[in-house]
Symmetry: C2
Subunit: 462 residues, 2 copies
C-alpha cells in the first residue's frame, strides 16, 4: 500500500468531523423513543458508504431496524471481504455520570490519549470502529489500491441481540457470500500491544418479575407476615451462586469446554497487572469464581450478572411500604459448548423452581447468542497478524474476549467462512458506560491497518 | 351527649366536602418538591381548628415542618385531653396503580362500603382520622357539650419519622400538659368489630449503598472478574434472614419482650380468617418467622423488610452493564424492649462487617422510634371502651398493632400521661398504597364516638 499515512494525515480532520456527525445521532436501539434517530443513522451510514466508493448501497428492511448493505465488486475472481458492524448504540444512562453530553461529541486529551480521544456514546462501540472500515475503503478506492471485492453489512440491532439479523443472513446467503468476515467490535490488550480476539462469549439475557401481594402494603401492618417480593428476589438471586461463586443452576456447566493447562498457560503470558486493574477500577479486591484467574474469569468462564434491579420506593426520603412487585434484569455470559437457548430454559425452570409458594414468578427471555472460537491457522488470521505487525511494529497476541457478538457463530454456520475480529478499542474506553470514548490514535491506526489486511488477505488467497 | 347522630346527619355533606378540600393538598413530607403544599396544609388545619371552636390556634415553627397547636380551655379544674394527629401524607407512587388521582378525592361505593368511601392519599392516614377530632370538637362546642379542656397538636412530619416533634414536646411540656393523649392513627379489626390498639412496634429505617467499580462496566469484558454491587447487595440482604426467617443481626433479639402463652392465647381469640387474608392479598401462602402465627408475626415480633431497591439498568429492553452502585431502603419493625438507636447501630455494624472486600458499603440511618405498650386498666382505656360500646353496640377488642407511631413512647415519657389509640380505619383502607380510602361510615362513626370518650373520661376522672 502506498501513501497510507500521508493520506490519513491530510484527511485526519475530516475523518474526525465525519465521525462526530455520526455520533451526534442518538441511535439507541433498546429504547423505542429513539426510533426515528436509529432510522436516521441508517441513512447516514448509507450516504457514507456511497461516498466511500461502494457501487451499490441499499437499506434493507427487517422486522426491526434495517440493515445497511453496500458492496464494491471489482473482479469476480478476486477474494471478497465482508465487513460487519453496527450503527446502534447502548442507552446512555446514568446521564448524570457523563462529563459531557453523550450525544454532543467532544475531543479531549487524557493521560492515555495525549493525541485526544472522542467522547460520546458509540465513539468506540461501534460507530467509531465501524467507520474506520468506511474510511479505509475510501482510501483504497480514491488511491486506486483496492485489491479485492468488499461487502458491508451494518446492522442497527446489535445492542438488543441482533434479533432480525439471522433471518436476513439466511435469506441472503448468495448476496453475502464472501471469503472472510472482518469485524471491528472488540478491543486490544493495550495501546501499544495489538491483539486479535480469537474467542467470544455467548449470552443469555432474561428479565424476572416477582409478585407478592396484589398491592403495595404498609410494612407495619403486614411486615413479617407476608412475603416481601424484594426480600424474596434477593434470596433467589443470591442463591444463584454458591460460596465458591459457582453458578448453581442445575446443568449450567454440563457443556462448558474446559481449557487445557497448556492453553491456560498460554493465556497467562498476556501482559496483565492485577494492581493496575484494581487501581483503574478503584477496588480493593477482585471477586469471582474460585480456581480461576481474573483473565480467565472474564473470558473462558461463564458468568451470571444482575444488570439491573428495581422495586418498591426508590425516591427521596423514606416510605414504609412492602412492594407488590420486584424486578431484575439478569444476563449470563456463556462459553463455547453452551447452547444459549438451552441455558435460558435451564435458568427459567430453575428460577421458577426456587420461588417460594408465597410469591408468583415470571421469567421473560430477552435475547441471546452463541459463544465462538476461531482458529489462528487460517489465512484470515495470518493476514490480520501481518497487518498489525506492519503498523504496530509487533505481532498481535491472540486473546479470548469476554464480550459477546451473538451473530458471529451464526455467520460461520450460515456463510461458511471464518470471522476475523480486528479490534482497536481499549478496556479503558468505557463502552456501555458513562464517558465512553475512542482514542484518536486508535481510530487512525485502524484506518491505517485495515487496508493492509485487504492486501495480505488477497496475496495469501492466491 | 345529646343530638350527636342528628347533628352528624344534618352536617354530613359538609363534613365530607371539608375533608375532601383538605385531601386535595398533596402534603408529601418525604419529598421536598411538595414543601409549599405541606405548609399550605398546616394553614388549612389551623383554619379548621379555629372554626371548630378553639380559643387559640398557632402554627409553631420547627427545624422542619411546623406543628399546628390549638386549645380550648373551659375550666382549669377539669381534665384536659391532648389530641395528636398529622397532616402530612405518604408519597403517592406508584401513580399508575391508582384508579383515580391520589389528590383528586372521589367518593365511591365498594363491597365493604356500600355507603361509599373517600379515595385519596391521606384519606385515612391521617387527614381523615385527624379531621374526625376537629369535627367532634365542632359538635361539642356548637351544641355546648364540651365536658373538659382540649388541646390539639397536629404535626407535618409523621411520615418521615417526626424528626422535630420530640424537641417541640420537650420544650413545651407546660403548654402540652394533659391528663390523656388521644390519637386516631391506627385501625380497628373490622367494620363491625371495634378494637383499641394497646401496642405499637418501633421502627429503624436505613438506606444502604454498595459501591463496586468506580464506573459502570461492560458485563462482557468484566463480568465474572469484578464484584457486581447488585449481586453483592442481594447476597448481603438475603443473609439478613436465616432459613427460619429469623433475623441474623447479632444482638437483634437480645431485648425482645416475649409474650406469655396466656397473652398469646388471648391474642388468638381475635377474629381472623387466614383464607380471607390470603384471598384479599391474592397470595397462595403467607410467609414469615417460624413458630409464630400471622397475627403474631405482624404485631409482637420484630421484622426486617426491604422497602425499596435499585441499581443498574432499569429501562426498557436490555443493557449488558455491571453497575457501579446498588442501593436499598431497609426498615426494621421493633417490639417493646428494643431500643431503636441501638438496633440501627447493630444493623450498621453488621452490614458493614458482612461486606466483601471487593465493595465499599455505606449505611445511612433515616429515622426510627420506640415501640409502645399501653395497659388496659387506666381510665383512658375504659372511657374509650365505653364510647365504642355505645356506638358499635359491642365492647372493643384490645389489639397489638404492627405499625409504628414513633413518638408515642416519647409522649408517655415526656408528658407523663397514657396514650389512647382510638383507630377507625380498616386494614383494607390501603394506607401507604395506591387507592388509599376511608369509609364514610368509619369517618362519621369516629365523629360520633369521640365526644363520648370526652364524656366518659371526664366522668371517670372525678
Amino acid at each position: 500500500m502506498k501513501n497510507t499515512t500521508s493520506y490519513i494525515e491530510k484527511n485526519k480532520d475530516r475523518f474526525l468531523s465525519e465521525l462526530i456527525e455520526l455520533l451526534k445521532i442518538p441511535s439507541i436501539s433498546a429504547d423505542s423513543a429513539y426510533k426515528n434517530e436509529v432510522l436516521k443513522t441508517a441513512e447516514a451510514v448509507k450516504d457514507s458508504l456511497e461516498k466511500a466508493g461502494c457501487d451499490t448501497v441499499e437499506i434493507c428492511p427487517t422486522a426491526g431496524y434495517p440493515i445497511v448493505y453496500g458492496e464494491k465488486i471489482i473482479d469476480k475472481n478476486l477474494p471478497t471481504v465482508l465487513v460487519y458492524g453496527h450503527y446502534d448504540v447502548q442507552p446512555a444512562d446514568p446521564l448524570e455520570l457523563w462529563d459531557s453530553a453523550p450525544f454532543e461529541p467532544v475531543i479531549k486529551t487524557t493521560e492515555l490519549h495525549p493525541e485526544g480521544a472522542i467522547f460520546a456514546r458509540g465513539a468506540c462501540d461501534d460507530k467509531g470502529q465501524m467507520y474506520m472500515h468506511v474510511k479505509a475503503l475510501e482510501f483504497m478506492t480514491s488511491t486506486d489500491q483496492l485489491p479485492c471485492n468488499v461487502k458491508f453489512m451494518i446492522e442497527g440491532e446489535e445492542e438488543v441481540g441482533s434479533v432480525n439479523l439471522s433471518t436476513f443472513v439466511k435469506e441472503n446467503r448468495e448476496k453475502l457470500s464472501n471469503d472472510v468476515i472482518l469485524i471491528s467490535d472488540t478491543g486490544m490488550i493495550a495501546k501499544d500491544t495489538p491483539s486479535i480476539t480469537t474467542g467470544l462469549r455467548g449470552l443469555s439475557y432474561v428479565e424476572v418479575e416477582v409478585t407478592g401481594p396484589n398491592r403495595d402494603l404498609h410494612s407495619g401492618l403486614y411486615g413479617g407476615a407476608v412475603a416481601n417480593p424484594i426480600n424474596v428476589l434477593t434470596k433467589m438471586i443470591a442463591s444463584l451462586h454458591d460460596e465458591n461463586n459457582h453458578i448453581t443452576i442445575p446443568g449450567f456447566y454440563d457443556k462448558v469446554e474446559e481449557l487445557s493447562q497448556e492453553e491456560r498457560a498460554e493465556m497467562a503470558k498476556a501482559p496483565f497487572s492485577l494492581d493496575d486493574y484494581k487501581q483503574a477500577l478503584d477496588i480493593d479486591d477482585v471477586y469471582g469464581e474460585a480456581g480461576y484467574t481474573t483473565n480467565e474469569r472474564n473470558s473462558i468462564r461463564p458468568t451470571l450478572d444482575v444488570n439491573g434491579i428495581w422495586g418498591g420506593y426508590t425516591g427521596e426520603g423514606a416510605k414504609t411500604v412492602i412492594a407488590s412487585k420486584a424486578y431484575a434484569k439478569i444476563s449470563m455470559r456463556l462459553v463455547p459448548g453452551q447452547e444459549w437457548e438451552e441455558i435460558t430454559e435451564l435458568f427459567k425452570k430453575h428460577f421458577e423452581n426456587i420461588a417460594p409458594k408465597s410469591v408468583k414468578v415470571k421469567v421473560k427471555p430477552h435475547h441471546g447468542g452463541q459463544g465462538y472460537v476461531t482458529p489462528t491457522d487460517n489465512i484470515g488470521y495470518q493476514a490480520a497478524a501481518k497487518a498489525y505487525t506492519d503498523t504496530f511494529g509487533k505481532a498481535p497476541i491472540p486473546q479470548r474476549g469476554g464480550g459477546s457478538i451473538p451473530i458471529v457463530a451464526l455467520f460461520e454456520k450460515e456463510l461458511d467462512s471464518k470471522i476475523i475480529l480486528m479490534g482497536f478499542g481499549l478496556d479503558s474506553d468505557a463502552i456501555h458506560s458513562p464517558n465512553e470514548h475512542f482514542g484518536v490514535f486508535n481510530y487512525l491506526k485502524g484506518i491505517e491497518t485495515i487496508p493492509l489486511f485487504y492486501k495480505y488477505f488477497t496475496e495469501l488467497s492466491k
